[in-house]
């Protein structure tokens, strides 16, 4: 059979590399190059315009002198711990309940999971309305006869961050449920039969056999939720806009505000680098173990 002549026979063996290289180069430039750029800017006095004169740790000193940054850090801490705990508890609970041979399981699962298809902006808008102090839940519950019921967290600087937790848990807990349900279902039937013969009741079976077996799911859930928490920006913007004042600022909104509203490029860059470092501290060990597990 005569082989069809291709104009560039010699290029064939190099094609895979030729295809990957530009993409890889783009990734190097737009990820690593940009990180480097941001990192460098964080070591300069850049304000409205970038300056490229090295100025040491000055922006980091300023950052850690900014009270608003402390608010952001404290909020991140409050938000991420409650958000992660809430999602995990609800997620495991629902996964276990759904694991009990429910006929309409598919429907219920779909309902629990649909918030994941929504934008955080939509979620924020909805909850902002529900939590509206004048016309929202407060109004409803007063209407039920609890005249003095107060629920003004949304506009209360001390409590507003918890409204972000409420909306965040609403959106993401179904996802954690799905992760755990898949984990529970991956446990071999014969093990459950063995447990039944050993006389373990449902609670003991879950607590002492199944949940320990799905430990990797706890790890993934932790990583995913931590990652979501650190990056959370949209939800805060839509729900509280970072307010009242800057009471619900988080590192992500802090960075955005300093970069695009106050034009403090240097300090914004420094805060972005802080976020990156946090994510790396969580993600890299996980990625490393994942790649080793799935790699060849």
């Amino acid at each position: 059979m005569p082989t069809r002549r291709r104009p560039a026979q010699w290029i064939e063996p190099h094609l895979p590399k030729l295809v990957v290289s530009p993409l890889f180069a783009a990734s190097l430039f737009f990820v690593y190059g940009f990180i480097a750029w941001t990192l460098y800017i964080s070591f300069t006095r850049s304000a409205v315009l970038p300056s490229y004169e090295f100025a040491g740790l000055i922006q980091y000193e300023r950052l850690w002198d900014t009270p608003r940054w402390y608010v952001a850090i404290a909020n991140l801490f409050i938000f991420s711990s409650l958000f992660m705990a809430g999602c995990t508890v609800i997620g495991i609970l629902l996964a276990i309940l759904l694991d009990q041979r429910i006929r309409i399981e598919g429907t219920i699962r779909a309902i629990y999971l649909y918030p994941m298809a929504l934008s955080f902006i939509v979620t924020g808008t909805a909850w902002k309305w529900i939590l509206n102090p004048g016309l929202g839940l407060e109004h409803v519950i007063r209407g039920w006869g609890f005249e003095n019921f107060r629920f003004d967290w949304l506009v209360n600087p001390d409590m507003a961050i918890y409204t972000v937790v409420i909306a965040g848990v609403w959106q993401s807990s179904g996802y954690v449920m799905a992760l755990f349900l898949a984990g529970l279902r991956s446990v071999d039937d014969e093990i459950l039969k063995a447990a039944a013969i050993d006389g373990a009741g449902p609670i003991r079976t879950y607590y002492s056999i199944i949940l320990p077996m799905v430990r990797p799911v706890f790890l993934s859930a932790f990583i995913i939720l931590a990652h979501l928490a650190i990056k959370s920006f949209d939800l805060v913007m839509a729900l509280t806009g970072g307010g009242p004042g800057y009471a619900t600022d988080m590192p992500a909104t802090f960075m955005y505000s300093f970069a695009f509203q106050r034009s403090e490029l240097g300090e914004a860059a420094a805060s972005a680098v802080m976020m990156l470092v946090t994510v790396i501290a969580i993600i890299v060990p996980y990625l490393y173990s994942e790649l080793r597990r799935t790699g060849r």
Binding site: R6, E12, L15, P16, V19, L23, F24, A26, S27, F30, V31, F34, I35, T38, I90, R101, I102, Y112, L113, Y114, P115, A117, L118, S119, F120, I121, V122, T123, T125, A126, W129, I130, N132, L135, G174, Y175, A178, R185, D189, L192, K193, A196, I223, L228, I230, F233, M237, A238, G241, Y256, A259, A269, A272, M275, L276, I283, L287, L291, T294, R296
Partner: protein
């Protein structure tokens, strides 16, 4: 997913089990209400008049439901100073999401294929380095990207947004296709090579025809992510070129004039509609994307 094989285990009979079963459904039902409440509130509020909203209760059904608020949200609500409703921004989002999804999916498929089926030295390192891009907090690239878009003359444009989403979507699409193609037997590629097929021929005639499941998952996932994006939208576009999420946020958070909650809710539903529809139609694939996104987060 089902547990047919352990359904039949003989359990002690008794009232206690009945009670537990009732409790189980009670809790599940409670959570169904919890998850549906915001959707219900959004829809019912959007169908009410402002007077009814002010006078009535959040949870009550609309007395005479009408779509006035929807019409307003669609074509005359004010976003900042412009009062054209959400419509132009919806089109912005469509104009952004379609090319961004197509390009990032195509390139991801090609990349995943090249990295798994034509292993060359360093392929794994390249993959690991690219994968990292899926995890970075995007705040760390906002500033340089804003400048780069400016230099490229794409600042404040939908085109610029397409570019950004393509670049940062590549990590996930590559990841997903790599994981898919790794499961495809190398023997198939070897056989095609022996038949004289080259790199692209194998890709288009052998690999892609096998890949529809992966393509569907990736397209759906990318579509949802890009449609729902807010950060890039607000950072890299202005006014006319805003995607719908940014416009929605602007509608809701304008402080001027009377607060029209019904219009806000209608706008929120409109903005959510495309991804919700995808979820309803192709929920199975969406969930698979989530499972893969587990790695991405």
């Amino acid at each position: 997913m089902s547990r047919a094989a352990i359904d039949g285990i003989v359990r002690p009979k008794g009232a206690r089990n009945k009670v537990l079963r009732v409790l189980l459904f009670f809790i599940l039902g409670l959570f169904v209400l919890y998850y549906l409440l915001p959707l219900f509130v959004m829809v019912s509020t959007s169908l009410k008049s402002l007077d009814e909203i002010r006078g009535g209760s959040l949870l009550s059904l609309p007395r005479n439901p009408n779509f006035d608020a929807w019409g307003k949200a669609w074509q005359s609500a004010c976003v900042g100073v412009r009062c054209n409703g959400l419509r132009p921004y919806m089109w912005n989002s469509v104009a952004m999401v379609v090319p961004a999804v197509l390009i990032s999916t195509t390139l991801g498929a090609l990349n995943g294929y090249a990295l798994t089926k034509w292993r060359f030295r360093g392929a794994d390192t390249i993959f690991a380095l690219m994968l990292f891009g899926a995890f970075i907090p995007f705040q760390v690239v906002l500033l340089p990207m804003a400048r780069t878009l400016g230099l490229m003359g794409l600042a404040g444009s939908v085109t610029g947004l397409i570019f950004v989403h393509t670049v940062y979507g590549l990590a996930f699409t590559t990841l997903y296709f790599r994981n898919f193609f790794i499961g495809v037997s190398d023997g198939i590629v070897q056989a095609a090579k022996i038949d004289g097929a080259g790199f692209f021929r194998i890709f288009f005639h052998v690999m892609l025809p096998m890949a529809p499941p992966a393509i569907v998952v990736t397209v759906i996932w990318q579509f949802t992510q890009i449609w729902n994006d807010f950060l890039f939208g607000i950072a890299f576009t202005v006014g006319d070129s805003n995607p719908v999420t940014v416009a929605l946020n602007n509608i809701v958070n304008t402080s001027t004039g009377v607060k029209e909650y019904n219009v806000d809710m209608a706008a929120a539903i409109l903005a959510a509609l495309p991804t919700l529809l995808v979820y309803i139609i192709a929920g199975k694939y969406f969930v698979r994307g989530l499972a893969a996104g587990a790695l991405k987060g």
